[in-house]
Amino acid sequence: MSKSDKSSIHFTNHLEKTSISVDQALQNEALATLKYASLPTTRDEAWKYTRVAKINKIEFKNEQSSLEDIQKFIIDSNAITLVFVNGHYSDKLSNRETVDGLTIESLSNKSNAVTSSLPQNDEIFNSINTLFLNDGVEINIEKNSTIEKTIQILHILDGVDMMSNFKTIIKAGDFSKASVIQGFFATENCSNSFANVTTEVKVGINAFLTIDKLQYENESSYHINSEFVDQGKDSTFTINTVTLNGMLVRNNLNIEVNGENCTSNLNGAYLLKNRQHVDNHTIVDHKVPNCNSNEMYKGVIDDNSTAVFNGKVFVRKDAQKINAFQSNGNVLLTDDASINSKPELEIYADDVKCSHGSTTGQLDEDAVFYLRARGLSEKSARKLLVSAFVQEVFDQIENETFMAYVERCLAERFSWIS
């Protein structure tokens, strides 16, 4: 990140400093970054293929919205639901329920200061999230509790030039089991908006936590999402990221495996069209022995869209007996579509089993012809093949309600046949 004498960030000029109680030391660090930094450029390795300069051209604001009808954004109508519009909690639109072993609170309602495990230094988007935090949610799952109901967090952007800074905190207690859905949307009236989101997760000993995340804003919105997960021993953490919309989407997923006998599952599907750009950066850091991680990301890139995948798996020196798998598959549907894929394995231990693979290709023309010869139109044939390609990732997603909603989005946006 380039440092200059004064900040060249002006897109936050109209944003108000946060009214949430945020740890002072954290704020100071964020301030220091904001003061001197500028937006990352393509000369920064981490942003090599993702251009964010245009963000600076908009002077974002943040306003409460009077949105009332959010029916179409509800992924799971039976879930415990908290709704945030432009980052602000709406009790009216939410559907809360008291369940044993579960405490959910919006950050604005909490008295103790919010802290963060996400780096602030040199990280402009994390720092902005800290300083201009609109609201967020803290989910606490008590030790030994199994939460049958899904927990659903919906974040909706509404209005023009809106920016929302939003945070989710999840603490899964020892031996607990829970499942969370995160949905990111934008209304029809929304344009040129920006969701700057952070998620921080602590998975306790022998706990099971699944996060199903859907990114479905619109073609004029920015979405930057930084996630940090700390896994305790014997735990299983699964995160499924489905990105179907957004002008520029950047996911920074960082999983630190701090205990033995853990399993980490990262699945991602991204389908792009027109002029979209999706960038998935993931890190799995194996610090201790006897753990497994499975990563599978698949993308379908159409028209003039571009995608980036950068998956890093670290296996530290004493992390023996690790099984780490990583794969990234991409299908380009036009000559103008492009993908930059960089799978990385950095292994410092010597008794491990790791593999990574990356494939890029076009649709198999023979297969298209075969289907057409059986009576399918060319369009239908291509759609069928594309869905078959991505299906491998969708097969990993256990939440059927989530998947049913995803399928509706696919039908709506890509006219997929189910």
Partner: protein
């Protein structure tokens, strides 16, 4: 497929009389040491070769003189002195042991474990020269059958005499003398080898094995093999055997050329167990082989090999997929132990349209050995719709061995589909302990694990060979975990 086993062979041997089949008119049976034009003329004259073949040799020699011996980054060996080798010795001279008692007891034990009968063991170690098969006697039944179908299967020297047109037409077309250092050397001084021709539309009904070649069982130093499958034909050719091959001749530089014409298929399987020398790796064989096949339209060539042993192996079977829709396959298990070094791999050259190649390479390293795989997949500009799948796996059995994979993909055509996978894993003490705790002995456990690992490749071998290969793998890795 082939039903004639060694049991039947020994029965035949018992029932026949043997003659020493070699007579020679030339005084000396051995050429003096060294390599020069005179030696080459001498060799050609001894073998009563036609003028065109002598020219071929001399031409190759000229080319070789201008070449420099190649350096290989991952293989280190003491370079053989080319002037210190005898380039011709009559077959009679290669008897290696005076009596059965002189044969290494370890070698006897290995052969017994591999299930090789005693007579066969003696034949393979060259003990009883009088067991060498005679062209008239044993191989007669085969030759008759093959002759009915028009299939030619004989020694290279014989082919030069009896079928010169066929040899002349194809020799050097797949591996030209200028191809590489060892190919040039081989082209100049090759001793003998095999020749096989399958006529149009004929499917060879049995596996052709070099067992049935009438020459001695020892692999020659500079062997030359040519297999031509004419349009629409099929042949499965087996080379080598599981018995440890011992030879004082350190350097082996062979050339194998396969020609698969339109709609033809050649399956070439090799099971080789070279004597690795002593435990410090001294005295082992240097095995440099150039093997290549050329595929015409709609044809297919598969190379399957299971190799263990030699001190230094340099071997790259390759396929030139010249014809449209042609297919090239390579299945290999290479085992290195102690101080051995292997640098093996394959080259698939895609020239025609809609060509397909598959590479499955499994390396097993034990002891302090090093196993390198080098694969080249080359898609030329006109090779539309080429497809390749490569899988290179390495299995490490100790902390001191190494495995290295160097895949090269050169693609000049955007419609190509290329997939490459590489995995490295270790048989640790943990897996062995797991099996022990379930009541399975260490030997059985290694057998289970290694054979499971090599299953894909072993399945490509003709049945009998597969069984022998399995046993061979288990034996060559005995006591190697840790």
């Amino acid at each position: 497929m082939s039903n004639y086993t060694e049991n039947e062979l020994s029965k035949d041997l018992e029932n026949q009389e043997y003659k020493f089949g070699f007579t020679s008119n030339i005084q000396s049976d051995k050429a003096p040491k060294g390599l020069n034009e005179d030696i080459i003329r001498f060799i050609s004259a001894k073998k009563e070769e036609p003028e065109w073949l002598l020219k071929f040799r001399l031409n190759a020699f000229e080319i070789w003189k201008k070449m420099i011996e190649p350096e290989w980054a991952h293989v280190h060996y003491e370079k053989p002195d080319f002037q210190d080798i005898i380039y011709y010795a009559a077959p009679k001279q290669t008897k290696k042991y005076e009596s059965w008692d002189d044969v290494d007891p370890e070698m006897k034990e290995t052969m017994a474990k591999l299930g090789i009968s005693l007579e066969e063991q003696k034949r393979l170690t060259g003990v009883a020269v009088d067991f060498v098969m005679d062209s008239v006697s044993v191989a007669t039944s085969f030759k008759a059958k093959l002759k009915e179908l028009g299939i030619i299967f004989c020694s290279f020297s014989e082919a030069v005499q009896d079928y010169p047109e066929l040899v002349k037409e194809h020799m050097g077309t797949v591996v030209p003398s200028s191809d590489n250092f060892y190919a040039a050397l081989n082209s100049a001084v090759f001793t003998d080898g095999s020749f096989c021709y399958i006529p149009k539309g004929v499917k060879c009904p049995m596996e052709l094995s070099t067992y049935f070649r009438i020459n001695e069982a020892n692999t020659g130093q500079f062997e030359r093999t040519l297999v031509v499958a004419d349009e629409g034909s099929y042949v499965s050719y087996l080379e080598g055997c599981t018995a440890p091959q011992r030879d004082e001749n350190q350097l082996h530089a062979a050339v194998v050329e396969l020609v698969a014409k339109k709609n033809a298929e050649i399956k070439y399987s090799t099971v080789q167990n070279w004597y690795p020398g002593d435990k410090d790796g001294k005295g082992g064989i240097f095995n440099f082989v150039t093997k290549r096949g050329i595929c015409e339209e709609n044809s297919k060539i598969s190379w399957t090999q299971v190799e263990t042993g030699s001190a230094v192996t340099w071997k790259y079977p390759s396929c030139i997929l010249k014809g449209d829709n042609s297919i090239g396959e390579f299945y290999s298990v290479a085992v290195t132990n102690n101080f051995q070094q292997a640098d093996t791999g394959t080259k698939m050259i895609h020239l025609g349209k809609n060509t397909k190649s598959t590479i499955i390479s499994k390396g097993i390293s034990a002891g302090k050995s090093h196993n390198s795989y080098r694969g080249l997949v080359q898609i030329h500009k006109g090779a539309d719709n080429a497809r390749n799948f490569s899988q290179c796996d390495s299995l490490l059995m100790t902390d001191e061995c190494g495995a290295h994979t160097f895949p090269y993909i050169e693609c000049k055509n955007s419609s190509a589909k290329i997939e490459h996978e590489a995995t490295t894993s270790k048989i640790g003490e943990d897996q062995i302990f797991y099996c022990l705790q379930r009541g399975i002995s260490e030997e059985k456990a290694i057998g289970l694990i290694v054979n499971g690992y090599c299953k894909e490749v072993l399945n490509q071998l003709p049945m009998e060979f597969a069984v022998e290969a399995q046993k061979l793998l288990t034996i060559s890795l005995e006591g190697s975990v840790g």
